[in-house]
């Protein structure tokens, strides 16, 4: 529940946003590059409340959505082998491969286990020494330090049946890629508070310095998102671009040195495949030589070439254009027609953080709903429940 102070601050920001956007002659595009932002924006139905000439688009910030089809097929192939257990974060389960998903593999008897951390996967490995446990390393600089910590412990304890398929990705390289796309008229970035908590401010400074883009590191509460949008609009109307850290209670200028050191110790930057974007230089995290024995890649059996019809079906999925902000989810020809949360074709429709799933869940028919809100009685607040701010978010 939101406190009345916070609500008042949100209203003030909203008013400022409308005021700042009014004189703009061109529609303004701002991109959020964090799935949690996408979800929060949808959850609070913020898009409806913003000026018409301000458009928020969801970038490649959902770890599930950016996973490339080829990497996904590797993940699916791993637990088909005898004696291999794949430990994964829950939201990878329903992502459709060409012919199957991890959930379907599991139903057919493959060993697939949902975990909430790499350490939990390592503990599975330790408790079943006769089985090879592979942790599916998905996520950005937020989840990668957890994977690193598990690998360091695995090495210290000489665990030989624990492996990681590292599909971890780095946010700054994809931001540079987006900033340099001439055909996407971006005005600025709402930067991911969680990633910045790890990396600090410096890795994002180039957006303002080299590309004259507005940029603000934002938290995830309604008022924090609106505050960051206000700041972005302020930079744009004044044409003074700089990185603003609007999440200073969590993001220190240097980030989290311990987590960065873990990343540095275990991983090195490497090219990585992004769904819809292809291969981007330095955008992935691969295991360093000292940890190569934990690399699960050699365990992946040779993959069959996908069938032509499977490729064609996948090609109709426009996840790539959606991740780049070229299309909004309802503009994809498959959105709601062949691709729904019940029968997803692309990962953007599966993940809780996916922009298609968010659009489906939170925006579908919302615009119709708004028209008649005045006609429906509004529920009165009852009871004297004490509303306290949500607490307990966890950061590394």
């Amino acid at each position: 529940m939101i406190s009345s102070d916070s609500l008042a601050r949100s209203r003030a920001c909203l008013k400022a946003i409308h005021h700042l956007a009014a004189p703009l002659t061109e529609p303004l595009l701002l991109m959020e590059v964090c799935g949690t932002h996408t979800m929060a924006i949808a959850r609070h139905a913020l898009k409806q409340l913003l000026p018409e000439n301000l458009r928020l688009i969801s970038g490649p910030g959902c770890p599930v959505c950016v996973t490339h089809q080829r990497d996904l097929e590797s993940a699916l192939a791993l637990p088909r082998q005898r004696g291999v257990l794949l430990a994964t974060y829950g939201d990878m389960l329903r992502v459709p491969g060409y012919r199957s998903s991890l959930q379907e593999e599991k139903a057919r008897g493959a060993s697939v286990q949902v975990v909430t951390s790499a350490m939990e996967a390592l503990e599975l490995a330790i408790s079943s020494p006769t089985q090879k446990t592979v942790f599916l390393g998905i996520g950005f600089e937020t989840t990668a330090p957890g994977t690193a910590a598990a690998l360091i412990r695995a090495q210290r304890e000489r665990v030989t049946n624990f492996f990681v398929l590292s599909l971890h990705k780095r946010v700054p390289p994809v931001l540079r890629f987006l900033a340099s796309q001439k055909d996407i008229p971006l005005g600025g970035f709402l930067l991911p508070g969680h990633v910045a908590t790890i990396l600090g401010e410096e890795p994002f400074a180039f957006l303002a310095e080299e590309y004259s883009l507005a940029s603000a590191i934002a938290g995830f509460e309604q008022e924090e998102i609106l505050l960051a949008l206000t700041a972005l609009l302020g930079q744009i109307t004044r044409q003074e671009f700089r990185l603003q850290n609007l999440y200073p209670q969590h993001v220190r200028p240097q980030g989290n040195p311990k987590a960065r050191q873990l990343l540095e110790q275990v991983f090195r930057p490497a090219p990585a495949l992004w769904r819809g974007l292809g291969e981007l230089e330095e955008s992935g995290l691969t295991l360093r030589e000292a940890y190569a024995s934990f690399d699960a890649s050699p365990l992946v059996p040779p993959l069959e070439e996908p069938l032509k019809e499977d490729l064609q079906r996948q090609e109709r999925c426009r996840c790539g254009d959606i991740l780049l902000g070229r299309l909004s989810p309802p503009e994809c020809p498959l959105f709601g027609r062949g691709c729904t949360p019940l029968r997803p074709l692309g990962p953007c429709m599966v993940s809780g953080e996916g922009s298609c799933a968010a659009a489906w869940r939170y925006e579908k028919k919302s615009s119709e709903h708004v028209g008649s809100i005045e006609n429906t009685g509004s529920a009165q607040r009852t009871g004297a429940a004490q509303h306290t701010e949500t607490e307990g978010r966890s950061f590394l």
Binding site: L14, G35, R43, D91, N375, T388
Partner: protein
């Protein structure tokens, strides 16, 4: 239809699809009632005798002991609540036990103690049952099945067909406590004070049945409050508008939900119901609920509308509206 996945048992859209396909084998032969509810009503055998309600439910929770309850307690509450929301006073119960070879007898007896305690508090008699032991590996520990029956205490059973535009919607407590407690156990998260809401609802709901404006109630089990609202909106082809700020909240559920990426409105409740009442009786309904220990947090949270048939809208604190859709399968925790 291919193979079953765990999501088919999650209470959302996948479940609805599966159930429809199963029932079709009966409906196509004229062998099933068109309105299949969790609790079926059988008309009295003679003129003037009261109808009876009957309900069947299977229970397969992991872990079998959790803060606020156990499989044994859950199996009784679940079945009795299916009756209670239809105005049927629970009287008698059949209990099916399917246990895996190797289960500690002491554990099984503990579940029976918990089950018996609920029966005692509700004046329900165990009138029969069945017990099977299956080879190790054939199932995970212990499954319980309960069939409860009782007398309909109203002239007509309350049901969603009675919903009308303008009706008020009341939630009897904060959503998601059972689902959140189970998730906390499964993912080894210690949330002090978080407990399942598992409880029998007859005592809470009975005072409402005398109100002429009482429309219907539903215990928000699998799929949670959000799923109940979606089923009502879709089933009656009416709109529903809920105010987020009016929803009772357990901050422990919210915190856990934030941590795991789970939405409290889609997490199961086992002792919390959604109640609909005509506008003129809404205040009295709320008053009666709040005077019961299980209903202290009860709140008026929304209305049935004529607009947007089939859709549930949630009005946020800033005045935006988002659509509350039925979940697909099991709630799965999110990455970060």
């Amino acid at each position: 239809m291919s193979i079953l996945q765990s999501g088919h048992g999650g209470g959302g859209r996948l479940s609805s699809e599966l159930i429809a396909a199963l029932a079709q084998r009966f409906t196509s032969r004229g062998l099933a009632s068109p309105e299949m509810e969790d609790c079926a009503l059988l008309s009295g055998s003679s003129e003037g005798s009261k109808s009876r309600g009957i309900s069947l439910d299977g229970f397969t929770v992991t872990p079998r002991f959790f803060p606020g309850g156990s499989l044994g307690k859950l199996a009784i509450c679940g079945s009795l609540n299916d009756l209670a929301v239809r105005g049927v006073k629970p009287e008698a119960l059949l209990l099916g036990v399917i246990a895996e070879e190797g289960l500690e007898q002491e554990e099984l007896l503990k579940h029976m103690d918990d089950a018996a305690a609920v029966c005692a508090s509700q004046g329900v008699q165990l009138v029969g049952g069945d017990t099977k032991v299956v080879p190790r590996g054939a199932l995970d520990g212990l499954f319980l099945t309960t069939c409860a029956t009782g007398t309909l205490m109203l002239p007509q059973a309350p049901g969603m067909t009675r919903l009308e535009p303008g009706d008020a919607l009341i939630l009897t407590g904060a959503p998601g406590r059972h689902g959140a407690s189970i998730a906390a156990c499964r993912y080894n998260l210690d949330v002090p004070g978080l407990e399942s809401d598992c409880a029998p609802l007859w005592g809470l709901l009975e005072p409402l049945f005398a109100l002429p404006g009482f429309r219907c109630a539903r215990d928000a089990t699998r799929g949670g409050v959000g799923t109940v609202l979606c089923e009502w909106a879709e089933g009656r082809h009416l709109g529903i508008l809920v105010e987020e700020e009016a929803l009772p909240e357990d901050t422990r559920v919210t915190s856990l939900g934030d941590l795991l990426g789970l939405e409290p409105l889609y997490l199961a409740c086992e002792g919390t119901a959604v109640v609909a009442a005509a506008p003129e009786d809404a205040a009295e309904c709320l008053k009666r609920l709040q005077s019961h220990p299980l209903g202290r947090e009860a709140a008026l949270v929304g209305y049935v509308t004529e607009e947007h048939p089939g859709t549930v809208g949630l009005k946020t604190s800033l005045g935006g509206i988002r659509v509350l859709d039925m979940p697909v399968g099991d709630p799965l925790p999110r990455i970060c």
